[in-house]
Point group: none
Chain length 207, copies 4
Amino acid sequence: MQPLEKAATKGQRTDEAFRAAARLVFARDGYLNAKISDIAAAAGRSVASFYNYYDTKADLLIALAEEFHAEATQLAALPYRAGLSGEEALREAVAGFWRTYARRRGELIGIFQAAMIEGRFRDRWLELRGEAITRIAGAVRAAQADGYCPGADPVMTASALSAMLEHFCYIWLGQGGEKDVPFDDERALDALCTIWVKAVYWRAEPL
Amino acid sequence: MQPLEKAATKGQRTDEAFRAAARLVFARDGYLNAKISDIAAAAGRSVASFYNYYDTKADLLIALAEEFHAEATQLAALPYRAGLSGEEALREAVAGFWRTYARRRGELIGIFQAAMIEGRFRDRWLELRGEAITRIAGAVRAAQADGYCPGADPVMTASALSAMLEHFCYIWLGQGGEKDVPFDDERALDALCTIWVKAVYWRAEPL
Amino acid sequence: MQPLEKAATKGQRTDEAFRAAARLVFARDGYLNAKISDIAAAAGRSVASFYNYYDTKADLLIALAEEFHAEATQLAALPYRAGLSGEEALREAVAGFWRTYARRRGELIGIFQAAMIEGRFRDRWLELRGEAITRIAGAVRAAQADGYCPGADPVMTASALSAMLEHFCYIWLGQGGEKDVPFDDERALDALCTIWVKAVYWRAEPL
Amino acid sequence: MQPLEKAATKGQRTDEAFRAAARLVFARDGYLNAKISDIAAAAGRSVASFYNYYDTKADLLIALAEEFHAEATQLAALPYRAGLSGEEALREAVAGFWRTYARRRGELIGIFQAAMIEGRFRDRWLELRGEAITRIAGAVRAAQADGYCPGADPVMTASALSAMLEHFCYIWLGQGGEKDVPFDDERALDALCTIWVKAVYWRAEPL
DNA sequence: TATGAATGAGATTTCATTCAT
DNA sequence: GATGAATGAAATCTCATTCAT
């Protein structure tokens, strides 16, 4: 009876076109090299039209980053809700993150580059990452309650693991990998998970 | 003995001034925000003079990066030559890297930012990092020969550990740390080393 | 009696909204800084709607200026019709002008700024002002017939007095006055009238 | 023996070229219509070169206005120093102002237009004009000490006379005069001076 | 009539790079 | 070697104006 809610207005479709175009261009040229005119061209719109939707390139990236963050966070939480064991859930969560980045290369590259250069964006990203670190640190404490990794500093450990996760994703999924090392999705993800698991689920040496 | 080395020519002194200025400006403003005119101003020379020594900002950074890489490599090798045990040597090597970056914040920031944006620099940096990964992978294989971390992919593991090392250094030494986490050199370095050690020196669970 | 006049059409109400909005925005931001979008926003209408009523910002201002001019002219004529003496009528006429500008700050600012920049508007304003000058010159000649201000060029004198009147109004009523001089409506108006009176009603020195 | 100090550097000559070009373009197109590119073209330099000397068009105008103000002020002071009588000196001072504006039409137009629109410039100009008003008010008080214009408010009177002076100059020297009134330098200046003199040098009516 | 949306056409501004001295 | 000065080539951003609905 009622027209489906989907009927996006013209403006919504244009906005979507700019987002899609930005993901494309960021993935192709990098965030810093991307010009507004490139994004507009990829979106099939005029440069002036861009400014009807975003004030700056950074604003558009922030919108994409929020979307991305929401998805990654949700995906990372799923395995825990599903009641998997700590180690199992961990592997799944890391894998979820990896796959999200793989699917959203534009955001991956945009976020990383912008976080390094644009003060405004960096602040927002530090906040989002702060949430992730808090969650990881919580998981470390939970493991410690079970007798694992005694004495480890949960927050610093979380910071280091998060740094590894992000940068490793950037190198392999964003930048095309290391020199002279063939790309292998499986092995890369497995190495990442194994390090993470071993870094948390170890016990003190028996005396 | 070799007094001649001291007598730096006018040109050498100017070159040195540009390098020092670049380190200062990169640390202060970031590599991407640094203008040639900023570096020249910090060096107390004219912009035109800059071009007598380097063709681009990237060239100057490459020179700095080579210096930096040589120092870090040498420092990382020392503990092994000193005959320390695997784990001990590892901690020392990581600490050496950390301290080198702490002392050379300009290079740290410059290298990281440029590796993300400038194709020319990125290629060179991937080569330098390739060496490090080869070395780390070698250490992993050595550990495997002693029965540690069976089944782990040495190169992927090295890539992930290297990613962690670099990015964690950048966050803490370059960018000022995580949101709402106080800086603590000791704890940061310790967390980093512990993860690394546990990621490599683990044995298969006894059945 | 004429109830029909009241029934403003939709279009008339919209037109009125644009005029009121323009007066507001000109007074607040100045004519040159006023964007069509600002006026439309203040009027609560769309920008596109603006073009149903006026072709340009200048056209809208011209409409306002005609209104303004008619009112000021009428007010200036009143005291003469009322049969006041020359000097008395003069003071009243100047006061009428002053008060009209005070009540219509938007027009004051708009007219002044536009007359300085927009050729199209300037031409129209020169015509309107020409009328005023003709009238003032006539008053000067009348005074001369009574033996006042012998030898004075009526038109040039009228031009100068008119310039004083307008600019003084603009400074005090439009721009907020001189630096470090407190606003005082009474004294300002009095100084203006006195100068005008003395400039016209003087007699040759007795030999 | 020593080379004459005149030998202007290349930069000084370029600066001078920009100033001259600005005066030309302001006089021709008005300040607000003048584009940086017009000024650069008139100066025979590139647009980029402009920015080596001034940050904005307003900055260049301020420089011109200061020059202008200094000259006008000095010229206005001369007749008083020369020991002329009050009325004589007054006519000379006004004439000096008139002639300065006549010679510097670019500044006249630039100053007037900018004072109306650009906040930054307006503030500076209000200051400069404040000086003039203080001086005129002083002259009014001096006249009052001799029994002239009793009861007149010196500052308001000065403000009104200054308004007349400036706007009359703008209309006749900047804008080309009133509609249908032939230009006549002599008569214009004479009307202006006469008004000024009569506005100040009048005595209370004998009872 | 009214309006959401789109855009052409400019103007400002920045900077790496060059060159004459 | 060193530098004051000049500039080409972009990229960003703004707005009046138009048009389809």
